[in-house]
Symmetry: C2
Subunit: 215 residues, 2 copies
């Protein structure tokens, strides 16, 4: 859903676009959160530095994704947004959006849907991170991100980027992909990974599951 559609003309006039070059910063953690962004083209990386200097990729934003939703509820951004490629974003002034919210239920619905999607995406992410085995984590990621044919995953960035997204070192990811290729689970080509037929069955190795839950 394009937020802009829900905004009346006077506010729409306040919406501006901005272009970024690769490596350029859109906003930084702790910066005053004044705007909400939507990616029009290109890719941005949302990163956070943890207390130990480790770089943590929150997500790779692609066209249609919104950035800085937190700004609606918080005074400060809580991550850095950095362009990976050349990129253009649409900027929505937070104050105007909040004001319009009071009068425009459609906008409220749009924003609620946006946050709802964000919540679900974070849940998925958390689910991935909880898989402590590199291979299974990669498998799950792949089946979760397979395209419409269910067999092709196109990589948003470099393999190294994917590694930080998955919470693995790049070495571990390279090794895992190599092993999966050797075992015929996947085939790799530039920027893409082909899942072999019957990939799903790899996802559930000889395991009986569903621990009983008392109800």
């Amino acid at each position: 859903m394009i937020l802009e559609r829900c905004l009346p003309a006077p506010i729409r006039a306040l919406v501006t676009t901005r272009t970024l070059r690769p490596g350029q910063t859109l906003f930084k953690a702790r910066g005053r959160a004044a705007d909400l962004y939507e990616v029009i083209s290109g890719r941005l990386r949302l990163v956070r530095h943890d207390s130990f200097g480790r770089l943590e990729t929150l997500s790779i934003a692609t066209p249609g994704d919104k950035l800085g939703q937190a700004s609606l509820c918080s005074e400060h951004y809580n991550c850095d947004a950095i362009a990976i490629t050349s990129a253009t974003v649409r900027r929505y002034p937070k104050a105007a959006v909040l004001a319009e919210l009071e009068r425009n239920p459609k906008l409220a619905r749009a924003i609620i849907a946006m946050l709802g999607r964000e919540v679900m995406s974070l849940r998925t992410r958390l689910h991935l991170q909880n898989i402590h085995n590199a291979r299974d984590r990669v498998r799950t990621y792949l089946s979760l991100n397979a395209g419409t044919d269910g067999r092709t995953v196109s990589l948003a960035g470099t393999v190294k980027d994917l590694a930080t997204y998955l919470g693995l070192t790049h070495e571990a990811l390279y090794r895992t992909l190599a092993a999966m290729t050797a075992d015929g689970e996947i085939k790799r080509s530039v920027g893409k990974i082909q899942l072999s037929t019957g990939f799903d069955k790899w996802c559930h190795p000889p395991t009986e599951m569903q621990a009983p839950v008392n109800s």
Copy 2:
């Protein structure tokens, strides 16, 4: 924020409360998402079964927390909600809430705030999970959850629950807590953990940080 306050009387009449006994299920993953809940008393555990049969605790809900926010954006719940203790919850019919949303900007604000908090909490959670070292993860959890005095953390459930929340085996957590106690970082009493003075400095061992980011 109590959602009920934002609802007009006719709808408020549709709000019911329900009591649960320990171990009882409020809703299950994949069930039709018809309601939104708010915890009044007691504790519930939100869990999900991953593809490998492992139990994953999404969160422990305590009074004031909302459950099934996803229901507003999705047709199905995506986790199980199970009472840990005896508990009472308030049930808001999803359809009524969505309808009221069209007319009531205050309710919209409340829901947006609720989802925003959820997003932030999930981000924090993700941040924790990305710390691959048990001790540092526990340290970070503790400093993040210290009470108003900044020195006391009260445990919502059992230590075992905390372990699954942190994505550790309970053995690993017990050992870590034991080691931290031995080193004087913390002191333990029933249901509580006392952080020793200067706990923060433990959080940043001899490390230089902030990897340079091209901007």
